[in-house]
């Protein structure tokens, strides 16, 4: 069994574990541990300093269900304790499918709740994910007040068996990087894929998840989590963004205090690659297109809009297409929602869901610049390489190989050192390579880059706008969107086919060009 566990270093390994014999908390940090082992009280006290560990685990309280956990927290805290402050949120890839429209035995709509407890303006201390208050898997992230970062826990079977799967810091260091829970939480952050307006798949003020998603007898239907749920808009601003900022602050404070060295690769990875993505969509309901509403398109599809703003480069104008044009593309490409057993024609509730750069990468970029770790010029020169492809750019990712792997002790001169390393690589690279592209951009100098990049971006925005003027042009963007969705289907965050619409398009690796045309990726 241990060998089998060692072979699987993904987050799926936890579902292969057999239920421990007794209640308690097992330590199983994939990459470090060969197999789970029961933690002693002394180990819990030493390694875990979050409220779950301090108030419950250390006192021998091992709740079996999510509600039992919340009740135990209430019992362990006094009147007015911030850990008693609860907010619940709800989501589900099939959350707009009422029970009357699907066979719930064969179609998993992914209905689940997020419960946040405690916390001030820097986010909650405990975040629980569960689909049912009294049964099933419970996943928990708890902020560690001593070691900082989130501790990742989950239940193993029932009866109060828990596993501690690591801390946010394990996401950033070997041998645990990218393994276990850090496969889908690559930076050790809380993940809310659909982070921004209109929060497709979530209950929000834009669209409710109604009681019709439950059978009359379903327990969650009358449970406080459902009845008192808040909208995703609050989850974004009050839970997820502050949590990501909180962990990113810790990362930079450790670096700048000299507690740890700067790993240039780890840092630049956030700029040139996409360890994970967020999902953006139109703010318009897909069905509204038939009634004449135009469809606004998410700017992050066309360019890394948030990153461009962070480096002071022009963001795109508002891109939109007439409803008829969008509706025609649904017809042409056979858009439908399916999980294999259930199928209905059309797009997701909100139109045009596509991946964009994750907020956690933007926050690292923003803080890196604000704290003087990298210069806006370096960030801009990196981001402008293959800028029409804000996610999954192989060209931009290739630059990472030229970033020096030697840790730096302080940020002074770091940007120049990184640039010099890529410039050196460019000298041995043929024309048209990303290293050459970067070199040309870097060599514009401190005074020239902003104006030059702005002109280039504005030309691109004009080209996109022009292509959106024709059905053919828009259809190309629809094909590109589907190509990018295919990339997401390969990521661990893809847990349900209902996350995206499906089409009659074959899988293709498509890229956008600076002139607004869509072509097959080279090589």
């Amino acid at each position: 069994m241990a060998d089998e566990l060692l072979a699987d270093e993904t987050c799926r390994v936890f579902s292969k574990l057999s239920q421990p014999q007794e209640p308690g908390v097992q330590r199983f940090i994939v990459g470090e541990d060969r197999s789970p082992r029961l933690m002693t009280t002394a180990e819990i006290a030493q390694d875990l300093s979050d409220p779950f560990a301090a108030l419950l685990l250390l006192n021998g309280v091992f709740p079996s269900t999510a509600q039992e956990l919340l009740d135990a927290l209430d019992a362990a805290t006094g009147e007015g304790d911030r850990l008693r402050e609860q907010r619940s949120f709800m989501l589900g890839e099939g959350s707009q499918l009422p029970v009357r429209e699907v066979d719930t035995d064969s179609t998993n709509r992914g209905l689940r709740f997020l419960i946040a407890r405690g916390g001030g303006n820097d986010g909650p201390d405990l975040i629980i994910s569960a689909s049912h208050p009294f049964e099933g898997l419970v996943e928990l992230m708890a902020w560690d007040m001593v070691h900082q970062g989130f501790n990742f826990y989950r239940t193993l079977g029932d009866g109060g068996r828990w596993v501690w799967a690591g801390n946010s810091r394990h996401a950033l260091q070997q041998p645990t990087r990218g393994k276990g829970p850090f496969e889908s939480h690559p930076s050790g952050n809380l993940i809310m894929k659909e982070l921004k307006f209109p929060w497709v798949h979530w209950h929000s003020f834009k669209v409710h998840i109604s009681a019709a998603v439950f059978e009359e007898a379903d327990v969650p239907r009358e449970h406080q989590w459902f009845l008192d749920k808040s909208g995703a808009e609050t989850c974004e601003t009050d839970v997820v963004m502050p949590s990501i900022v909180r962990w990113t602050n810790v990362r930079f404070e450790r670096v700048l205090s000299g507690a740890v060295t700067i790993d240039p690769v780890l840092l630049i990875e956030h700029v040139v690659t996409c360890p994970t993505v967020n999902l953006a969509s139109s703010g318009t309901e897909s069905a509204a297109a038939k009634l004449g509403s135009s469809i606004d398109l998410p700017p992050g599809f066309f360019v890394d809009a948030d990153a461009m703003e962070a480096v002071g480069l022009p963001e795109p104008p508002a891109f939109a297409v007439p409803g008829e044009m969008y509706a025609s593309s649904l017809e042409t490409f056979g858009f439908h929602m399916t999980d294999g057993s259930f199928s209905q024609p059309g797009d997701t509730h909100f139109a045009f869901v596509v991946p964009e750069r994750a907020f956690e990468d933007i926050e690292v970029l923003r803080q890196a610049i604000a704290r003087g770790v990298i210069s806006p010029r370096l960030a801009a020169a990196l981001l402008m390489v293959d800028f029409p492809n804000p996610v999954f750019s192989r060209k931009r990712a290739k630059l990472l190989a030229s970033v020096p792997s030697v840790p730096a002790s302080d940020p002074d001169g770091l940007s120049e050192a990184i640039a010099a390393s890529i410039l050196a690589a460019s000298e041995e690279s043929p024309d048209g390579t990303p290293e050459r592209d970067f070199a040309a951009r870097w060599n514009l100098g401190d005074d020239g880059w902003r104006e030059s990049f702005s002109l280039e971006l504005n030309d691109y925005y004009t080209a996109v706008e022009s292509r959106l003027g024709s059905q053919q042009g828009f259809n190309d963007f629809v094909r590109l969107a589907e190509s990018r969705r295919h990339h997401v289907r390969d990521l661990p965050i893809f847990e349900s086919r209902l996350l995206f619409p499906e089409t009659n398009l074959d899988r293709q690796d498509l890229v956008m060009s600076p002139n607004g045309t869509v072509t097959e990726a080279a090589g």
Binding site: Q96, N121, D122, M241, E285, P298, E309
Partner: protein, 331 residues
Amino acid sequence: MSLTMFQPPGNLAEMSADSRTSWDARVRDLFDVSAQMFLSFYNPVGVDVEQRSHRITWPAAPGRLLSTRMSAEQRWAIADADRNEQDEYCEWSLARDNDGKIQRVTFTSEVPDYFDHLLHADEALLLELYGQMSGRVVPIDALRAHGGNVFVGASEFNSSTDGPIVHLSQRNNNLRAAITLTAEATILREIDGQLLSHPQTLVLCGRLGDERRHSDPQIGAAVNGLVAAGADVSLADPPGLYLDGIVTGGLETPDGTDPQEFWHVERGDADHVVRAVFEVPGELGYKVGDITIAGRPINFGAQLAERVHVRVEALSKKSFSAPMDPLPCVA
């Protein structure tokens, strides 16, 4: 106990008994007119069967601007610069210091209908309130037109975005519009035999306002959903639009003070807030503009408006009428 008369918005207690009586009559008229036109809408005065209340909330920052997908700074600047853009039943005005840094943001959801009523019922109170909230002596002629009968809601004393603000002034931000929208939203709609339930689609089909606003689709879908479930619908007393607090997660203050402490209710009772101010107390030595959200200083009132929630409270009771057939979209 059944409702015997409508209270003023926010349960404000400043009107005389006579003025309260005439306010009640005015609001009853609004409800009665809509109830006569829409079978599933009712006037809650005198209703003695069980009713449930339903809080419907949305953010105060304009959804129309958000849906254009212009950059955040662009939409914040537009929203801050023109009260006519602030069309979510909440408006705000800024006070900046000499360096342009925000000192205070005042939010209001007070309906102009109330002040219109005062023009006719209690002119002295109207001028007193205008004086208090604008900080200026306001001549009565500035608030009336057409020989004194028509109230001017967007006068120079209440149209500024960086000065005094008294009450809502955008043309759609009023109690009459909210009651009418609620009543019109009771009509069920269908397309090709499919009952509509999604917010924007309902607004477009039923012509319930602007599908890109936050408020119209939100109110429309919630009310329509109640009717579809077999209820008649109204608005809870006191009818009005209310500020439902501010979300401060992610706001960083220079000294770590909880920014919730900077939200001060100025008018309305605790559960029916119609005017609130976000301002740092002088003794703390910094200003609103020194607070950051995800590292970005607060340079616009709209940054806060995105975190302020507005609320209307619907009422429902079991319908004893035969269920209505859904209608096709308004041509």
